[in-house]
């Protein structure tokens, strides 16, 4: 009958009208500024640099300026300058650090490749999305002071991943400490050590960990 399809359609819209008042499956709107957006843990938007100590952010950056992320970044929004001197890192090894680390967030597409290729868990994806700047160039070009955020913040936004990373780093540190102890013991046993820390020194940032698949982001580790 002419009109039956139209009447059925009117029925469906009426059902949705009523449903929008009582059925949360139909009314999915969140009133954003009033109700803060609920972000999943895996949410990614713009990278940040992890620092170990909030009181001395520039001194405890995990980044060793290996420049892998700079090379891999698809839109090439990362700029790094290596330092001239070395500072001890979390495990006590002397490492380079970034004298300049800048990310142009106007160019960054939050693809997370920098995080995936980073062998030192130094760069992670942030949860910020309310970004606004009054200047298109300087305002969106973040330097290392602006990029550095403490490890506690990382724990806050991504508890699962941060716990996993911390576990791994602690294990590495313990291994390094044991190695150092063993070396010290060997040194004590040995008659005359010539170079104090040479036995402990790592090949350095040029040979990162083998690129095994990264553990799950926000999911369970395989």
């Amino acid at each position: 009958m002419l009109g039956s399809g139209i009447l059925k359609g009117l029925g469906v819209t009426a059902k949705n009208f009523v449903g929008s008042y009582h059925d949360p499956a139909r009314m999915v709107t969140q009133e954003y500024p009033d109700t803060p957006a609920k972000l999943p843990e895996a949410y990614r938007n713009f990278p940040f640099l992890v620092t170990e100590n909030a009181t001395d952010p520039m001194g405890t950056l995990r980044c060793v300026a290996c420049q892998i992320c700079e090379k891999e970044c698809p839109p090439q929004c990362i700029y790094i300058e290596k330092s001239k001197d070395k500072k001890p890192d979390a495990t006590g090894k002397p490492q380079l650090y970034p004298a300049v680390f800048a990310i142009d967030t106007a160019v960054c597409m939050s693809c997370q490749l920098c995080v995936e290729v980073c062998p030192f868990d130094a760069i992670k994806m942030d949860h910020v999305f309310e970004v606004a700047a009054t200047n298109r160039f300087e305002g969106l070009l973040l330097n290392r002071e602006q990029l550095a955020k403490p490890n506690e913040y990382f724990h806050q936004i991504r508890p699962t991943e941060a716990a996993e990373v911390d576990g791994r780093l602690t294990a590495e540190r313990q291994a390094a400490a044991e190695k150092a102890k063993a070396a010290a013991a060997a040194k004590a046993a040995a008659p005359k050590p010539t170079t104090p820390v040479a036995g402990v020194a790592d090949p350095g940032p040029a040979s990162p960990r083998p690129a095994t698949p990264k553990p799950a982001e926000g999911g369970t580790a395989p």
């Binding site: 002419l2 009109g3 039956s4 399809g5 139209i6 059925k8 359609g9 029925g11 469906v12 819209t13 059902k15 949705n16 139909r26 999915v28 999943p40 843990e41 895996a42 949410y43 990614r44 892998i68 891999e72 970044c73 698809p74 597409m109 939050s110 693809c111 997370q112 490749l113 995936e116 290729v117 994806m125 690129a211 095994t212 698949p213 990264k214 799950a216 982001e217 926000g218 999911g219 369970t220 580790a221 395989p222």
Partner: protein, 385 residues
């Protein structure tokens, strides 16, 4: 005799006809509400009837292929998200497929299943969106589109909680997937998929039998099967013309042969068939997804030999293709042994399906042209690249 004669064949008159007066040339787009992006149609009208239509594209050209030839294989992956920005999961997969073929990498079982799950969820997203947009072109006041968006939003939330981004998922990797979904994620996705047919039923009750829809779409924009094959048209547009060609069946991409699903075929090749193909394919996708959630194996999601960086495939070439929601999406790669592809080429289904737009539109009115364009399902990011 019908009172709305169903496309009694184009009656195209000569462009210069002094008796009937001038023709009107209208440039629809690149700023037009219904060209689905920055696409332009230069239409020549006789009254409201189209006598000539010239598609113009390239407004969104981003040099994707050349950029990809100058970066590493991995760095192109996020860019593929931005080709067909509604279906980043399938574009990722197609690219990963080509690279895996080039370098001869294996993919673990669980990753194969996850890829199919993501691809079929993407198909639900794409088709429900497309149908919503099609109805907007047909003149609804956004109602079907917003119902479709409501459901799409739930799937995008899943994508976000898994991959970190709603649309730019960047999820597939060479030799597997990036993230392993948690059991809670799988349960939520499974529940969503089980509920999806209810949405489809409601959608169909609302619209499929609507007399205005039938009159507006049946017999409009017919595409003959032979013509479509000649032009290389693929996907639901081709199947609406009655050609049985679905790469999930033909190639058996990934683990698709392990799943039971049917391929719907149209008979008339008109806009209504193209609309119904999408609805029926969504129902089949739901079946695939339900099977996949039941049989998803445990195991690693990445080939242990897979490398993210320092990736140098042997010299050679490879073409990886799969059935994306829009049609055959292929990536053609030539390697010279360096970390960058020597040649990188995308076969975008949107662009190739668009080539017969004029043939479909001739003799119809300007209102139909908009609807026909909507039923082809283009994404300008993929057309222009």
């Amino acid at each position: 005799m019908s009172l709305f004669p169903a496309n009694s064949g184009p009656t195209v008159r000569a462009v210069h006809d002094e008796f009937h007066g001038d023709l009107l040339e209208v440039s629809m787009g690149p700023q037009h509400p219904s060209t689905h992006g920055v696409f332009r149609m230069v239409v020549t009208l006789d009254g409201e009837q189209i006598v000539k239509l010239k598609p113009v594209f390239g407004y969104l050209h981003r040099n994707h292929e050349k950029i990809a030839e100058n970066t590493s294989y991995l760095s192109s992956m996020p860019y593929t998200d931005r080709l067909d920005y509604l279906c980043s999961m399938t574009t990722n997969w197609a690219y990963a497929l080509a690279v895996e073929k080039l370098s001869g990498q294996a993919v673990p079982d669980r990753a194969q299943y996850l890829r199919i799950i993501m691809a079929e969820l993407t198909r639900l997203v794409n088709h429900s969106c497309l149908v919503g947009f099609l109805f907007n072109d047909l003149g609804t006041s956004f109602t079907p589109l917003l119902y479709a968006f409501r459901e799409r939003e739930k799937i995008l939330d899943l994508f976000e909680s898994l991959s970190g981004s709603r649309m730019m998922c960047n999820y597939q990797r060479f030799g597997g997937c990036r993230v392993d979904p948690s059991p809670e994620w799988l349960a939520a996705a499974s529940a969503l998929v089980d509920n999806f047919p209810r949405f489809l039923d409601e959608y169909e009750t609302m619209l499929t039998g609507n007399e205005i829809l039938l009159a507006r779409t049946q017999g409009v924009g017919r595409l003959a099967a032979a013509h479509a094959i000649n032009a290389g048209i693929t996907g639901p547009v081709l199947r609406a013309s009655g050609v049985d060609y679905d790469l999930r069946k033909v190639d058996g991409t990934g683990f698709y042969p392990r799943f039971e699903f049917r391929v719907p075929l149209g008979a008339h090749g008109d806009t209504y068939d193209r609309y119904m193909m999408r609805i029926l394919e969504m129902r089949e996708s739901v079946k695939i997804l339900q099977q996949a959630f039941k049989t998803l194996p445990a195991g690693p999601i990445m080939d242990p030999k897979a490398k993210l960086r320092g990736f140098r495939p042997k010299a050679g070439e490879a073409y990886g293709r799969l059935e994306s929601p829009k049609g055959e999406l292929g990536f053609y790669l030539i390697s010279d042994g360096s970390p960058n592809p020597w040649r990188y080429r995308v076969r975008p289904p949107s662009l190739i399906n668009l080539t017969l737009l004029e043939e479909m539109c001739l003799g119809h009115t300007i209102a139909d042209a908009v609807v026909i364009l909507g039923s082809i399902d283009i994404v300008l990011g993929e057309v222009d690249r």
